[in-house]
């Protein structure tokens, strides 16, 4: 009985390790002029926080990494995220973040755009990493 239990625990641990090994890393990044804290990331990407001081924030989504970002950082699925933005747009007249085609697009945008915030799958340079998930 104890061997079975041990086997199950090891199997679960192995499975968890395998999943962990395959989970995508998400680096939330911002333009070097943006001052923002990790707990504010969700507010930025759901439209509740549009300014950092006097600076207008410009969040962008990363198409291939969006599902991993929503799950790991915002704790939302795509449907819920889209619904939040439908209501936000209808009620407050603001639009959801534009979707970029991949890491290089996001990096390029974040480097060049004041107030830009995005996320990429590998450690970037030339931008500020707010937090790695």
């Amino acid at each position: 009985m104890s061997l079975k239990l041990l086997f199950r625990v090891l199997a679960a641990l192995f499975g968890w390790l395998c999943l962990s090994a395959h989970a995508a890393e998400v680096f939330v990044i911002c333009n070097s002029g943006v001052q923002i804290a990790a707990p504010e990331i969700k507010e930025v990407f759901t439209g509740d926080k549009q300014f950092a001081g006097t600076l207008k924030l410009n969040p962008v989504d990363n198409g291939p990494l969006q599902a991993a970002f929503l799950s790991a950082v915002l704790k939302l699925d795509t449907l819920r995220y889209n619904m939040i933005w439908t209501k936000k747009s209808f009620r407050e007249g603001i639009n959801p973040p534009p979707v970029k085609s991949g890491d290089s697009d996001v990096l390029d945008f974040v480097r060049k755009t004041p107030g830009a915030i995005g996320y990429v799958s590998s450690a970037p340079s030339g931008v500020t990493v707010i937090q790695k998930f």
Binding site: E40, E43, D48, K49, Q50, F51, T54, K56, N58, D61, G63, P64, L79, N82, M83, T86, K87, S89, F90, R91, E92, G93, I94, N95, P96, P97, P98, V99, K100, S101, G102, G115
Partner: protein
């Protein structure tokens, strides 16, 4: 003897084969060698041919491998391009602000069977219905200048299509705490009016609570205001605070007509001026007009909404709201009433529960007559619970409206009532909802017609895009 003979014969045979066979073998060997040489040459030629063929085949194999490699590379490239196009497509769809104007909207159709039948409001509708098609867009011109335009096509009770410029707002965002809008907007009282409005698909129930219905649909409050609106929200340790402050054109009550159905069934119970008119009165004949083009009898409307979303209860919002305006009607008496509304509301939208409750207290003052102040109240509470794609809900509503108050007396929708509604919402997919609702309404203040209770059943299929 016989044995000896056999030996001799055998020896003779051996001698014969020993001497004569080699001679014969020499001549046949040459022929064989020639034949073998010929065959060898043929074989060599064959080998050369085979070698050539093998070489050809090897070259062909290398070509196939190269083709396969190229094909794999092309497949990978196609996949990359597909992903890129999908991402670009998604991006364009979600933020065509960069390349065009995003247009969104709501639409709904349905069925209704109403049992309403009384001398004041007549018979209720039955049959298939077309609801509202609402189109909206939110172009942002710069980082701070924004706009919101909504156009609604509604089908009225008579079946005619009406077009409303629901919202035309142009705003400027100073910060999260201060966004100023100018234009026509949804009046920010309570939660429901700004949260759902014409968005049938995002509205949790099929019908709106009657007391906050649209002006031309039986509402008792101006659902729209034309003027200036300052709104904002700030996050703090304890939660998120938000506010709305607005001022704009005061609504008027238009469309009053003598000999109204309500006056015909009750000649008393209103203000002295209206009572004196008896059956020729105009009680219950007017509707609110938001005066979006201003007015030659301009009055100002002001209001506020303040709310808190505490961090300790995610999904909860508690708010206070108020509205103060002066309403003039277009009757011969030109009644003028100071409308004072104050109330509160609570929403809890944390899955799986959806709870919305709003309360409105009125303390209206007769400015043109001598009837003084009048107290009324109205409110509703709705509770829904989500089970996957299904959300059953229940709602109770009540309005206790003073008929001596000219504001309610003159309004077509100013009668007291009670309503209970039960329904279920089924999310067909994220952008389509099917709802069925049954409600029972008890209608008061119908004068000698007494009261009327009726049941109404509705079904609705709504979409957003």
């Amino acid at each position: 003897m016989g044995y000896f003979r056999s030996i001799v014969q055998g020896g003779a045979f051996l001698l014969f084969t020993g001497f004569f066979v080699p001679v014969h073998a020499e001549s046949s060997a040459e022929a064989k060698i020639k034949a073998l040489e010929a065959r060898l040459e043929q074989s060599m030629a064959l080998i050369e041919q085979l070698a050539a063929k093998v070489s050809q085949l090897e070259q062909a194999g290398a070509g196939v491998r190269e083709v396969q490699t190229q094909s794999a590379r092309q497949s990978a490239k196609i996949e990359q391009i597909e992903q890129h196009v999908a991402s670009l497509g998604s991006g364009v769809a979600r933020h065509s602000g960069d390349v065009g104007l995003p247009l969104h909207g709501f639409a709904d159709v349905g069925l209704v069977k109403s049992g309403e039948d009384n001398p004041v409001f007549g018979k209720g509708p039955k049959g298939a219905t077309v609801g509202t098609v609402s189109l909206y867009m939110a172009p942002q011109f710069t980082e701070r200048v924004r706009s919101l335009v909504e156009l609604a096509f509604e089908v009225d009770a008579g079946g005619d299509v009406e077009t409303d410029l629901e919202r035309v707002q142009i705003g400027y965002a100073f910060s999260d705490a201060a966004i100023a809008w100018l234009g026509r907007f949804h009046t920010p009282y309570g939660y429901w009016n700004t949260a759902f409005h014409h968005g049938a698909q995002i509205q949790p129930s099929l019908t709106r609570p009657r007391l906050i219905d649209f002006e031309d649909d039986g509402g008792i409050l101006p659902a729209h205001t034309t003027g200036l609106w300052l709104t904002g929200a700030v996050a703090a340790e304890s939660g998120r605070f938000g506010y709305d402050i607005y001022l704009g054109n005061a609504p008027q009550i238009n469309g009053t007509a003598v000999g109204s159905a309500l006056s015909a069934v009750t000649t008393g119970g209103f203000s002295p001026a209206l009572n004196a008119l008896g059956a020729a009165g105009y009680a219950g004949s007017g509707t609110l007009n938001m005066r979006q083009a201003g007015s030659d009898r301009h009055r100002t409307s002001t209001g506020f909404n303040a709310w808190l979303e505490p961090r300790f209860a995610k999904g909860l919002r508690i708010g206070l709201h108020g509205l103060r305006t002066t309403v003039v009607d277009d009757s011969a008496d030109a009644n003028e009433t100071r409308l004072n509304m104050f109330g509160g509301y609570l929403t809890y939208l944390g899955e799986p529960w959806e709870i919305v409750g709003e309360y409105y207290r009125f303390r209206n003052r007769d400015l043109s007559g001598a009837t003084g102040n009048h107290g009324s109240w109205a409110g509703f509470a709705q509770v829904g619970h989500t089970f996957g794609a299904w959300t059953p809900y229940a709602r109770t509503e009540r309005a206790q409206l003073d008929q001596d108050d000219n504001y309610f007396a003159v309004l077509e929708s100013g009668r007291s009532y009670k309503r209970s509604a039960f329904g279920v919402r089924y999310d067909v997919d994220p952008k389509a909802a099917l709802k069925v609702e049954i409600n029972r309404t008890h209608q008061d203040d119908l004068g000698t017609a007494g009261s009327d209770s009726y049941v109404e059943t509705r079904a609705q299929y709504s979409i957003r895009f």
